[in-house]
């Protein structure tokens, strides 16, 4: 117990005050740095969609952005909870599902209202195969930033935390991807953007399982 006393003495000497926003700030820093890198990746490896001027006048452009950004923002606060021992992230997690519910509902209604012949095109678009992979690719730097941030925090459920960071990275990446992608059907977005976000979540889980232990 003498060793413990000595440890306690040493820990309480030169005690630095800590900010209450420490967790959020650290997380935001990692995610922002990753998002900046993802934007550059999108501009260099893909390209800004040439019809952007036209696109911002369409509803679907804003629907895509709203779906992905809302998931990213709610996802950020879920991860902020997951970084704190003893804090419950359930309510925040359920909030995070709401944009998906809204998107799927909209997609279902759109399909229902469309003529039968148009439905297949609305679902598959022209980039179905590539889209999820490109979203995962863009999510990589954001995932790296988020994992870096989490490694300085205290997630007591490493796999859940990994999923959280993965979904956050995937949805942020999907938001950025929307500035390149010219798909304009709600069903396509509901399926393939979501697949990309989910795949990022799985990748985050795999990384979290080994990389978020402390």
């Amino acid at each position: 117990m003498k060793k413990t006393d000595a440890l306690i003495d040493s820990l309480s000497s030169n005690l630095e005050p800590v900010s209450r926003a420490f967790v959020a700030l650290r997380l935001a820093g990692g995610v922002a740095a990753g998002a900046a890198a993802a934007v550059i990746m999108m501009l260099v490896l893909l390209n800004l969609r040439p019809d952007l001027g036209f696109a911002v006048g369409t509803a679907i452009f804003w629907i895509k952005l709203a779906y992905t950004l809302a998931t990213a923002v709610t996802g950020f606060w879920t991860v902020e909870r997951l970084a704190r021992p003893g804090a419950s992230a359930g309510a925040q997690g359920m909030l995070e599902c709401l944009p998906l519910v809204a998107m799927v509902s909209l997609a279902t209604i759109t399909l229902f209202l469309a003529p039968a012949g148009a439905r297949r095109g609305m679902i598959l678009g022209h980039s179905a195969v590539a889209c999820p992979w490109l979203i995962v690719m863009l999510s990589l730097p954001i995932l790296a930033g988020g994992i870096w941030a989490m490694r300085g925090l205290a997630p007591v459920r490493p796999i859940a935390a990994g999923v959280g960071v993965g979904v956050l990275a995937g949805s942020a990446a999907a938001a950025i991807y929307g500035f390149h992608c010219d798909e304009s059907a709600a069903p396509f977005v509901a399926i393939f953007y979501t697949l990309g976000i989910a795949a990022s979540g799985l990748l985050g889980a795999a990384i979290g399982r080994v990389g978020l232990r402390w």
């Binding site: 117990m1 060793k3 413990t4 440890l7 306690i8 003495d9 820990l11 309480s12 000497s13 005690l15 630095e16 005050p17 800590v18 900010s19 209450r20 420490f22 967790v23 970084a83 704190r84 021992p85 003893g86 804090a87 925090l153 205290a154 007591v156 232990r213 402390w214």
Partner: protein
């Protein structure tokens, strides 16, 4: 804890001391005794490094418990190899019993040393060796009544001494 997060070193020192006591109790009932103090130190260090993850709107106990539990599970994961060898496990069990018996015996001897030699022998015979008061009297040349009186007085003395020490 609020004061500690703001940088109050004295409050923090007191908090860590209290945490150490509670952690020792928590781990003491669940992991091998030799590992307890090390894990206490490791947990205190983790709590220090990650003190910014405590949310002032939640109860401190929830935060402390979550970290203690996480560290304990991690400890089991790391020491799993040691626990799967059955022989070692049995040895540890026997060693624990041996220690307890030895401690108990030492305590009894300490208690008895408060009494004069003759009474000590009587108490040992009647209480520890299972002799009846008649048999004890026969070995010491005392009547059964005398033995009873002396044992009764000795017990009163011990109880008075024991409670005195206890307070």
């Amino acid at each position: 804890m609020l004061a500690s997060l703001a940088g109050d070193a004295v409050a923090y020192h007191g908090l860590l001391k209290t945490l150490a006591v509670h952690l020792r109790g928590y781990y003491g009932r669940r992991i091998a005794p030799d590992d307890v103090e090390d894990l206490v130190q490791e947990t205190l260090l983790s709590m220090h490094v990650h003190r910014a993850t405590y949310d002032t709107k939640q109860p401190l106990t929830a935060w402390v418990y979550a970290i203690a539990r996480y560290k304990m599970i991690d400890h089991f994961r790391r020491t799993k190899s040691r626990q799967t060898v059955p022989l070692d496990h049995t040895e540890n069990l026997l060693a624990a019993n041996g220690t307890e018996a030895a401690i108990a015996e030492r305590d009894v001897e300490q208690l008895l040393s408060n009494l004069p030699e003759g009474t000590r022998k009587l108490l040992r015979q009647t209480k520890l060796e299972g002799l009846t008061t008649a048999e004890a009297g026969a070995t010491t040349g005392l009547s059964e009544t005398a033995v009873k009186v002396r044992v009764h007085r000795a017990m009163k003395t011990l109880i008075a001494k024991f409670s005195g020490r206890g307070s």
